[in-house]
């Protein structure tokens, strides 16, 4: 790879966004719509709905490798290796315009009020410097823009929560799961999804393909290459794909001057900017800050606190799949959550752990996927005449899954790998992560509850998985926000304490993880950060 920068005369942009996932798309749009000049650099490229595996009959085989969630398995040109040799779990992401929203299920729950105050309420971790109410207007604005579908008035939340589009049907699996929750006296609510139940802007109406987590073939999911980024481009933003950023550059005053990036010919380029916003996810952002170390910042950029890369939270997932005698037509979507339950979200000290989990029920599409779920059976119970009945169960299934709250631990961290590099020779991120005792207790407890739900609904076979080691796509906490520069990387508006014109807008800035699927909160935070970037850059331009 060339090490010298080849171009030195690019025009300076007002805002340089690094990463085109959900947070990058929201910030890019916010700044462009305010009239600022914006470039968004993305190491991947565009993916079309017609590219996705479910367009093809062999889709269940394609998702095992070529379209796997794990970049170490998929190993596309846009991917970088993730060194997981010292990690209990293997973080996943998708590197493209749209980022990991290409592959997410678009479940769209907000954090609860207690999530912002876990230190005050439970005596653990830290409180956020903002509250539920501080974030609510940004949530409302994002929800309106992308067209979130759901039922207002969820009793797990304070009053005033509503959604712009009507909900999706619960369908047979959701109705059955809801009936069981009622029998058990649980909270549940019709699933809130960033999947439009009616056509909305550049998103199609949901066609219930059921393959949301492997890319929607219809473009009917709030994948941020299909919403926010198109509107950002219409507002004048430029998206440069195939642009792998290797360093944020600072001047002698300590301000960011832009970023060096490598094009697909291996040429190193420099993009000057008045402000830089990192949106590269909870793994990529700390990696880039550490890669940006220089003589003035020997421990990495914006890292005087030593918190860059620390407190990685991954929301360990657990599941219980139940199979029933009746045909639930469980190939039908969205998937997406049909219902969710916050019954076990909050701390109940009698359970022997703090915090809890968010549960959600989904369909179980695909006969081969169902066979894969049965792999732990004895040979003769799956391979032989039994396989026909196993495959038939794919239409009869309900997947209860849960995110567990993952408390911050400074020893769970992202550093630079000493021996793995990406295709441009840049050090890969190295993950050191241990599932905590508290989390393991949450997982065990939650699996037991999900089994109860299946038993209450009359399941005839239940398959549990207490920890999915290869599925954590919720990458949080590695550049946490806070008011104290000695214990946090950015302030509550995502502005780096150490660098006046450097911002972070992705899941890195979470203080605690909650157990709600995080893209909803990431997007609201990104809008809040983006508006502050606009305010600050505009003020500086007015002064100069």
């Amino acid at each position: 790879m060339t090490t010298n920068v080849s171009n030195t005369d690019e025009p300076t942009v007002d805002v340089l966004v690094i990463g085109a996932g959900p947070s990058g798309a929201v910030v890019t749009h916010t700044a462009a719509a305010a009239g600022l000049s914006v470039i968004c650099l993305e190491q991947g490229d565009w993916v079309n709905p017609s590219d996705f595996p479910a367009n093809h009959p062999e889709w269940e085989l394609l998702i095992q490798h070529d379209w796997a969630h794990d970049p170490n398995v998929r190993a596309l040109p846009s991917d970088y290796p993730v060194d997981v040799t010292d990690s209990d779990m293997w973080p996943v992401m998708f590197n493209a315009v749209g980022g990991s929203s290409i592959f997410y299920g678009a479940e769209w729950p907000r954090l609860l009020p207690s999530d912002f105050r876990v230190k005050t309420l439970d005596g653990v971790a830290d409180d956020w410097p903002i509250s539920y109410d501080d974030l609510k207007p940004y949530h409302d604005e994002v929800d309106e823009f992308i067209g979130v579908s759901g039922v207002g008035g969820d009793t797990a939340y304070p009053e005033g929560l509503d959604y712009p589009l009507p909900p999706h049907p619960l369908s047979k699996p959701g109705m059955k799961a809801a009936e069981a929750a009622n029998k058990l006296g649980w909270h549940w609510w019709p699933g809130t999804n960033a999947i439009p139940s009616r056509k909305n802007k550049t998103l199609e109406q949901c066609g219930r393909w059921g393959v949301c987590e492997w890319g929607c073939p219809q473009g009917a999911k709030a994948s941020f290459d299909l919403i926010y980024m198109p509107q950002a481009q219409q507002a004048g933003a430029q998206v440069i794909t195939g642009a792998r950023v290797r360093k944020v550059v600072t001047d002698d005053e300590g301000n960011a001057t832009g970023a060096e990036w490598v094009d697909r010919d291996g040429t190193v380029r420099f993009q000057p900017a008045r402000s830089v916003v990192l949106c590269a996810n909870g793994i990529g952002t700390p990696r880039l800050l550490l890669l940006s170390a220089d003589d003035h910042h020997p421990d990495g950029l914006a890292n005087s606190s030593g918190m860059v890369g620390r407190n990685l939270m991954l929301h360990p997932n657990c599941t219980a799949i139940g199979y029933y005698d009746e045909n639930l037509e469980s190939w039908r979507g969205p998937a997406g959550q049909l219902i969710h339950s916050m019954q076990f979200y909050e701390t109940d000290k009698s359970r022997g752990f703090v915090r809890g989990a968010k549960l959600h029920a989904l369909p179980t599409p695909g006969p081969l996927n169902t066979i894969e779920a049965h792999r732990e059976l004895d040979f003769d119970d799956l391979w032989g005449p039994a396989i026909h009945d196993v495959a038939r169960r794919s239409s009869n299934g309900i997947l209860w899954a849960a995110n567990s709250e993952d408390l911050p631990d400074p020893d769970n961290r992202v550093t630079l790998s000493p021996d793995q590099v990406d295709s441009d020779g840049l050090p890969a991120p190295k993950i050191r992560y241990t599932v905590s005792e508290n989390t393991r207790k949450i997982l065990k407890f939650t699996v037991e509850r999900m089994v109860e739900a299946h038993e209450a609904a009359g399941a005839t076979r239940i398959i549990t998985q207490e920890l999915w080691v290869d599925q954590p796509g919720h990458l949080l906490g590695t550049a946490r926000m806070g008011d104290d520069p000695t214990t946090s990387v950015v302030d509550s508006y995502g502005k780096a304490h150490d660098v006046d014109n450097l911002y972070i807008a992705d899941g890195s800035i979470f203080v605690t993880s909650g157990s709600a699927n995080p893209t909803c909160t990431i997007s609201a935070l990104a809008l809040r950060v983006g508006k502050k970037v606009v305010e600050n850059v505009s003020a500086r331009k007015a002064q100069s």
């Binding site: 040109p77 315009v97 809801a178 549940w188």
Partner: protein, 167 residues
């Protein structure tokens, strides 16, 4: 007027894998015969369900499945070469041994053989699987479900959230 090029040069896309519908190399008659023997051992006829090799167009879908898991092609074909000499009456025991001792080979081999079987339209119809497809909801479907009163118990219990300063 300029003419279109006869063959476009297709650059590998950064974020999209190449879809190939043919295995990395042609499979021989003997290799296919062994694959079908293995498939029938893992997926035998039962009731209305045909054995794998008797499913309509199975070989066509087998090639598509081998292409979809091209990453495992060499390992799978090495296993096929090993199993080719195993007599029919010993094949199930050999596969059980592979299942117990070599999951890195057995899992993709069995996924390819089963994946091909459940791709065939005949078998999809037999198991009642219509495939993933567009099936938009009716306008009133969600409202009709909620009008059954299924949400009433939750509403009757009322608010459950934990108050925290600032919400």
């Amino acid at each position: 007027m300029s003419s279109l090029p006869l063959a476009r040069k297709t650059a590998r896309r950064l974020s999209v894998p190449v879809r190939d519908t043919h295995p990395p190399r042609e499979t021989s008659h003997d290799e296919v015969a062994t694959l079908l023997r293995i498939a029938d051992c893992l997926i035998p006829a039962a009731g209305p369900n045909p054995a794998a090799s008797n499913a309509e167009n199975y070989v066509e879908y087998l090639h598509l499945a081998l292409a979809a898991r091209a990453d495992a092609f060499d390992a799978v074909m090495d296993a096929v070469a090993t199993l080719a000499a195993v007599p029919d009456e010993e094949l199930r025991a050999a596969l059980r041994h592979m299942w117990a001792t070599d999951k890195a080979t057995f899992d993709p081999l069995s996924a390819i053989l089963a994946g091909a079987y459940f791709m065939t339209p005949q078998v999809m119809a037999l198991i009642g699987y219509p495939g993933q497809h567009r099936d938009p909801a009716g306008l009133e479907d969600a409202a009709n479900e909620l009008e059954t009163g299924i949400l009433e118990p939750v509403l009757e219990r009322g608010s459950i959230y934990i108050s925290a300063a600032g919400e």
